[in-house]
């Protein structure tokens, strides 16, 4: 019984290795704000969601569609999905209650723990199957329909009767029969628990039909050594059966754990959706396109993390950038450029993980990886060290990107003078573009931006943070060629309150 809610043909590994730059990416895109809203304090949901988001670049568009279907089902039936998730959570708690694998060591105690635990697991499996029976018709996605069909087929009534009988037998209320052989030195060996007689009558028949002699003896109540030896013998006798039942219990727990971890992502999707709905912030299911001709068009794309932070709907941007592999964003400070860049990265991550995106519509190529190179503010005092550090990070990125990757550059190559920075930026960016990398670049490097404008106006999308005539910002990106100043003057006067001379 395999759960296939994240991949159509395989399970999900929550412990898989995340990309090396996971911390940088999470920090630059402020991913934790998104994860907070998805998890609502459930650490497990948070961890799964993080892994799913950070490994989205490995997915093909088909996988994204497969998940989108399930997300749609979940948004339509949040209560049922939450109940199933909680059922899995409760079931997993049972393990602790029965101490399996914690204090249990000897086969006899493994067996009694496993018998107790198994009774409960069978009950939980029954409940799960009832959900499938009751709500199955309300789900349309392939992922959830298949799961429910599986539960119906595999967990039929007679199956429950059979397994309950096994659990009853293994309580060993009628004693136990162990077969044995002789090992070296004629010491008993290969102790194996035998299947008990089906009923009393069968047992009698076996006794009466016997030709060979049977010898019975009792251990004296005060024979302490004898009782210890008997306990040891029982332990040896039930060893394999205890192992079989305990392993079976582990398998069922594993099944519930798989269900929990694959559902956790969708719980996150429900949580976030409800939060954004409250803010009246729009979401849309995007159209992921395979790697190839560059597609990038969206309407009202906003920074979901900013919206979650300020707890209200925020300004969105619309762009038609199909055919462009470089987006150069220039313009006013405090004009929303970083926010815009972040909204692009987040939308891309969300799309690739199979989620909806924070926009009215969004269409883009899937990437082979999303990388960020944001200006680090903290170590401003060490100018030369900063340049060194910045180039170090850039070279790490260059070492690991492949064609199809998306690189988000925020004020990169700015920690040296503009001429040098521009030249190196131009060389790096050009090399990236020619290698099939998409680059979204927020920059003040006018010389570099202008060079791209003069040499390749058609292949580059130039955006500018809008600044009104009166100096105020709209936080909108408008199409427009790079301008020489960044209106830092405005900021200066805003804070120092002096008039222009």
């Amino acid at each position: 019984m395999k759960v296939r809610l994240l991949y159509e043909n395989r399970g999900f590994d929550p412990d898989q290795e995340l990309p090396w730059h996971k911390e940088v990416l999470a920090r630059d895109l402020e991913l934790n704000r998104l994860l907070e809203a998805m998890s609502r304090g459930d650490r497990f949901v948070e961890d799964v969601a993080r892994t799913v988001l950070l490994t989205g670049s490995e997915n093909d568009p088909a996988t994204m569609h497969y998940r989108q279907e399930i997300v749609k089902d979940c948004l339509a039936n949040p209560d049922v999905v939450r109940e199933i998730y909680n059922l899995a959570v409760d079931t997993l708690k049972a393990r602790k209650k029965h101490h399996l694998g914690i204090f249990t060591y000897y086969p006899s105690s493994v067996l009694s723990s496993a018998v107790g635990l198994m009774g409960l697991l069978i009950e939980m499996a029954g409940k799960l199957k009832n959900f499938a029976d009751k709500h199955g018709h309300r789900f349309e996605s392939r992922g959830i329909s298949n799961l429910f069909a599986l539960l119906k087929n595999e967990l039929a009534d007679d199956y429950f009767t059979e397994v309950q009988q096994h659990v009853k037998n293994l309580k060993l209320d009628n004693g136990l029969i162990i077969s044995a052989e002789l090992g070296r030195g004629n010491v008993g060996n290969n102790y194996t628990l035998c299947k008990p007689a089906a009923d009393k009558f069968d047992w009698m028949k076996r006794l009466i039909g016997r030709k060979d002699p049977a010898y019975t003896f009792q251990i004296h109540p005060r024979d302490q050594g004898g009782h210890q030896a008997l306990a040891e013998l029982r332990n040896r006798g039930v060893n394999t059966a205890a192992n079989a039942l305990a392993r079976s219990a582990e398998h069922i727990l594993d099944f519930f754990f798989t269900l929990k971890k694959e559902l956790a992502f969708y719980i996150g999707c429900i949580n976030l959706y409800e939060r954004l709905s409250n803010l009246k912030a729009p979401v849309a299911f995007p159209f992921p396109k395979p790697v190839g001709e560059n597609v990038l068009s969206f309407r009202e794309l906003y920074d979901v993390c900013l919206a979650l932070t300020v707890d209200e709907k925020v300004v969105g941007n619309s762009v038609s950038g199909d055919g462009k592999s470089l987006v150069l964003i220039t313009g006013a400070n405090q004009g929303g450029k970083t926010t815009f860049l972040r909204s692009l990265g987040l939308a891309q991550l969300m799309m690739e993980s199979g989620m909806y995106v924070p926009a009215v519509s969004y269409s883009s190529n899937v990437s082979s990886g999303i990388f960020t190179h944001f200006r680090r503010e903290e170590d401003a005092e060490m100018e030369s060290g900063k340049w060194d550090e910045e180039l170090g990070r850039m070279s790490d990125i260059v070492d690991s990107i492949e064609p199809g990757a998306i690189v988000l550059l925020n004020e990169s190559f700015a920690s040296t003078n503009e001429r040098e920075g521009s030249e190196i930026a131009r060389q790096v960016v050009t090399a990236m573009l020619e290698s099939g990398i998409r680059v979204f670049y927020v920059t003040h490097l006018y010389e570099m931006a202008n060079k791209f404008y003069l040499t390749n106006p058609a292949g580059v999308l130039f955006l500018r943070a809008e600044r009104k005539e009166d100096g105020s910002r709209t936080f909108k990106m408008i199409e427009g060629r790079p301008l020489q100043t960044s209106f830092g003057e405005d900021l200066y006067y805003k804070f120092f309150g002096r008039q222009k001379i």
Binding site: M1, K2, G11, G101, T104, Y106, P107, E154, E162, H166, N174, L176, I177, I178, S179, A180, E181, L182, R184, G185, N186, V187, G188, L193, C194, K195, R206, R210, D212, P213, A214, Y215, T216, F217, Q218, I219, G225, G226, H227, A229, L230, L233, N235, R236, G237, N239, A241, A242, N243, A244, A246, R247, S248, A249, E250, H251, D254, F255, F257, T258
Partner: protein, 516 residues
């Protein structure tokens, strides 16, 4: 010819065992070698064998030939398997001797016999398939093949097999309820665990923890098991009657010569094991030619075994040295810087002879060595240094002892013996002793600071430490036939410490210039 022993062709062990306390062992580091060689072989009590050197060429060659045969890895491994099996036989028999329950005892006895027969038959089988050259192993193989073809052995082996087979068919059931146990024959009951596992298999996602408890398989029985065993014996009366008879009839089942072979052959295995690592590191071993009349000896690329073992375990490299005596030459006088390998050179000379006398392969690429009656050593010992007067006396007493015992077949190795006295005394005493040694026609090595000793006599050959060409102060641990280099060493060592005339002057003038 009849097989007698794998160590002594004639079976008679006439050679003298030297006491452990003999100075030779500590002086030549042979105590370390013997300790390490025999370390993994304590049960066989091999040390006495390593303290008996042989004094006939034939006896030595008998062993060398066995060593050569055993250099075949395959044969070596098979021999290891054989001796491990024999060790198991001893273990099982000793175990059986300690057990209370008859069935338990008999079970282990049977297992011992079965192991013995397997060891012997498999080894005989293997030996027939290999090419042997040594008289020792050829004779043993002959003996072994006759033995395994004997009706006694065949009967023992077959009977053990049959009894074992019958015991393997024993299968019974225990019905346990409360404190009552019923023992009866097994009646085709099925293993419940497989059925349980199958019933839940559909939930399987991946691998899960294994809860199988690893019970140790005890050798003995507790009284409950003994009681059950007694009932099992009642259920299978024929099987257990046969087992009892088998045990009665075969009490002393092991052949004495095979038992002796198993111990004696460890002498070879232990040594080959010990040198295997060194061979792997590229060090050479050879089978020396032996001479007892002619005193022209030689060795190429020899080394101190104990030191090599230590150096290799520290990942350091080993320096090898050559030596020879030709014509009238009898004594090598070794001079050179401190810590330059003089003692090691002397030890190498002694070890090579000692090991050759055991019949072992010796360090080096080729060697011709002397068959000695005794090796006498006297090395300077630091622990006695406080009582100089006493020490000099002791030295003289010891040297006198040596010279009165030694014969023209003896080897002598002296290492800085009189250095507790003045150089003048030392020179005088050393010269006198050398005269005596030459008078006795001994061969050997003398390590000394007395350079004059090296040019005293045409029976003496001088060997001195070789310095690195480019850097006079670098010690190579190599020795060559040349006259003592005393002064050159002194200068080079001083230079290293910045204490040559020029260096000291320069320092003083530099410092002086500041004070002016």
């Amino acid at each position: 010819m009849e097989y007698r022993s794998i160590l002594f062709e004639t079976g008679e062990d006439t050679s003298e065992e030297l006491p452990k306390t003999c100075a030779l062992y500590s002086d030549l580091n042979l105590d370390r070698v013997i300790r390490d060689v025999t370390a993994g072989y304590r049960d066989y009590n091999l040390e006495p064998l390593y303290r008996k050197t042989l004094n006939s060429e034939a006896a030595i060659q008998y062993r060398q030939a066995v060593f050569k045969d055993l250099e075949d890895d395959n044969l070596f491994e098979q021999l290891k398997v054989f001796t491990q099996n024999m060790a198991d036989v001893r273990k099982y028999l000793s175990l059986a001797g300690k057990l209370d329950c008859k069935y338990n005892r008999e079970g282990w006895f049977l297992h011992a016999v079965d192991t013995y027969c397997r060891a012997v038959s498999e080894f005989a089988d293997h030996l027939t398939g290999v090419t042997l050259k040594s008289r020792g192993l050829l004779l043993f193989r002959n003996f072994l093949l006759i033995y395994i073809d004997s009706s006694d052995y065949k009967f023992l082996k077959e009977e053990a097999r049959q009894v074992k087979e019958e015991l393997a068919k024993v299968k019974y059931c225990l019905h346990i309820k409360g404190n009552r146990i019923t023992v009866r024959k097994y009646e085709g009951e099925t293993d419940y665990s497989t059925e349980v596992e199958k019933a839940f298999a559909k939930f399987k996602q991946g691998e899960v923890t294994d809860y199988l408890f690893r019970f140790s398989q005890d050798a003995g029985m507790n009284h409950l098991e003994a009681q059950i065993a007694a009932y099992v014996a009642k259920i299978y009366p024929e099987t257990f009657r046969r087992l009892a008879k088998f045990c009665e009839d075969n009490a002393g089942f092991q052949e004495d010569k095979i038992v002796a072979f198993d111990r004696e052959v460890q002498f070879y295995l232990a040594y080959l094991d010990y040198i295997a690592g060194m061979k792997q590191s590229g060090l050479n071993f050879c089978y020396p030619q032996l001479t007892s009349e002619n005193k022209e000896i030689s060795s190429r690329d020899g080394f101190d075994l104990a030191l090599a073992d230590k150096l290799l375990s520290d990942n350091s490299s080993v320096v090898c040295n050559d030596f020879y005596l030709t014509g009238e030459e009898r004594i090598i006088v070794v001079t050179g810087p401190n810590q330059g390998g003089k003692t090691t050179f002397a030890r190498t000379f002694g070890q090579l002879h000692y090991l050759a006398g055991l019949g072992c392969p010796v360090p080096g690429t080729e060697a011709q060595l002397f068959i000695f009656d005794r090796i006498y050593t006297h090395f300077e010992r630091e622990e006695n240094i406080q009582d100089l007067q006493g020490k000099l006396e002791n030295d003289l007493v010891r040297i006198k002892e040596i010279l009165s015992e030694a014969t023209s077949q003896s080897i002598i190795i002296l290492n800085e013996v009189f250095n507790s006295t003045t150089l003048q005394d030392e020179t005088f005493l050393s010269e006198k002793v050398v005269e005596e040694i030459i008078e006795l026609d001994l061969i050997g090595v003398i390590v000394t600071f007395v350079d004059e000793l090296a040019s005293k006599n045409n029976k003496i050959v001088s060997m001195a430490g070789v310095m690195e060409q480019s850097d006079f102060s670098a010690i190579t641990f190599k020795f060559a036939r040349k006259s003592p280099q005393g002064l050159a060493h002194a200068i080079s060592v001083a230079e290293k410490h910045g204490l040559t005339y020029e260096q000291v002057k320069e320092k003083i003038s530099n410092e002086g210039s500041f004070t002016i």
